[in-house]
Symmetry: C2
């Protein structure tokens, strides 16, 4: 599909196909759909993308996307301000919020340590995490990073950083230690045992928990 | 996924999800991808969609998308101007062009007759097709519409219209009749006979052609 009958069409398809997972055929279909909409609708579409890029803010506390300087979660009075859940990106905040199982604060790293992609701790919001935890008040840090090698590396790096912080504090007076936890890894709900990969199944046996009714 | 942390983000996701086949989860992924691009890149993306909608023209002869008043195919001197291929939409022009098997002109109907969707002949470029064929010069009209009931209905409608035109002409002097053909329907290249649906297979037997080497 190289022979577009119009440069404008070819430009639009080119741009649409630059989105991840959108091939040229799909891009053409999407662009021709837009073309069938009213001028006002296409302006609304293009405007929403532009406004998002130009006007969106990132919460200066937890670094999630926000309309204000400090996001609504960080500002909320009804949330547990003694717990911070560390996540890779904004989607993860939304996913965990949608579970309805968590009522603490978040900290968005903006990625995970991945030497292959040239992402080191300095590119991530790890120092700002430590700075949030250094003063008193935080009782638990939940590490909710991907269950991959990169996620594990990042977990370990943060764990070490927080341990150092703890040791510095221990020299001071009676301060309660911070609990560092990670999300449970195991057989996904609804999955058959026989189709679960052996690493996951092995971990789920090693990390078994007491059966409670 | 209702709790977007920002109205700007929620607007952008809403717009992206209005594209056909794009769900909310995919829309969020695409929008966050855009957000990670530079401001200039997002402007290029939004600008390409806006410019396409605002500046694109439709060829006043064949109604395909074009940058000029008359498209490059209609303007070309190397194409067979005695043959018109009737198609549903712009994608079909591109698909047929990509086969490299056709060197005539096109006529884009802008849809097919579909009473269920409220599309009648008046909404389509059928009158303009008849107007193109009425003067002398066209020797063959190839109907390349979808092989669906709607496509067949449209084929039949156009056939009748052109037959009437022919009869009007027959009253005049010695004018050669216009040939009306439709694209071949049969077993797709590379397909197994046993997996071909029975309607297609039946048609391919009824409409068999002489074997030539």
């Amino acid at each position: 599909m190289n022979n577009y009958p119009s440069i404008l069409l070819s430009d639009a398809v080119e741009q649409m196909a630059s989105l991840p997972g959108v091939g040229r055929k799909t891009a053409l279909r999407l662009v021709l759909h837009l073309l069938r909409q009213s001028g006002r609708d296409v302006e609304a579409f293009a405007g929403a993308m532009l406004r998002l890029k130009q006007e969106v803010k990132y919460c200066k506390v937890c670094h999630t996307i926000s309309d204000q300087e400090v996001c609504s979660i960080c500002q909320s009075h009804s949330r547990d301000k003694q717990t911070i859940c560390v996540v890779e990106n904004v989607q993860d905040v939304m996913s965990i919020e949608n579970t309805g199982q968590y009522n603490g604060l978040y900290h968005v790293l903006g990625g995970i340590i991945s030497p292959m992609d040239g992402v080191g701790p300095a590119q991530l919001e790890i120092d700002s995490l430590v700075a949030r935890i250094a003063p008193e008040g935080i009782k638990e840090v939940i590490l909710a990073l991907p269950t991959t090698m990169e996620g594990d590396t990042t977990n370990f790096y943060i764990y070490k950083k927080l341990q150092n912080l703890q040791m510095d504090k221990d020299n001071q007076a009676d301060i309660a230690p911070i609990k560092i936890s990670q999300i449970a890894r195991g057989v996904a709900i609804g999955n058959e045992i026989e189709y679960t990969d052996e690493i996951t199944l092995g971990r789920s046996i090693v990390n078994r928990i007491e059966f409670k009714v």
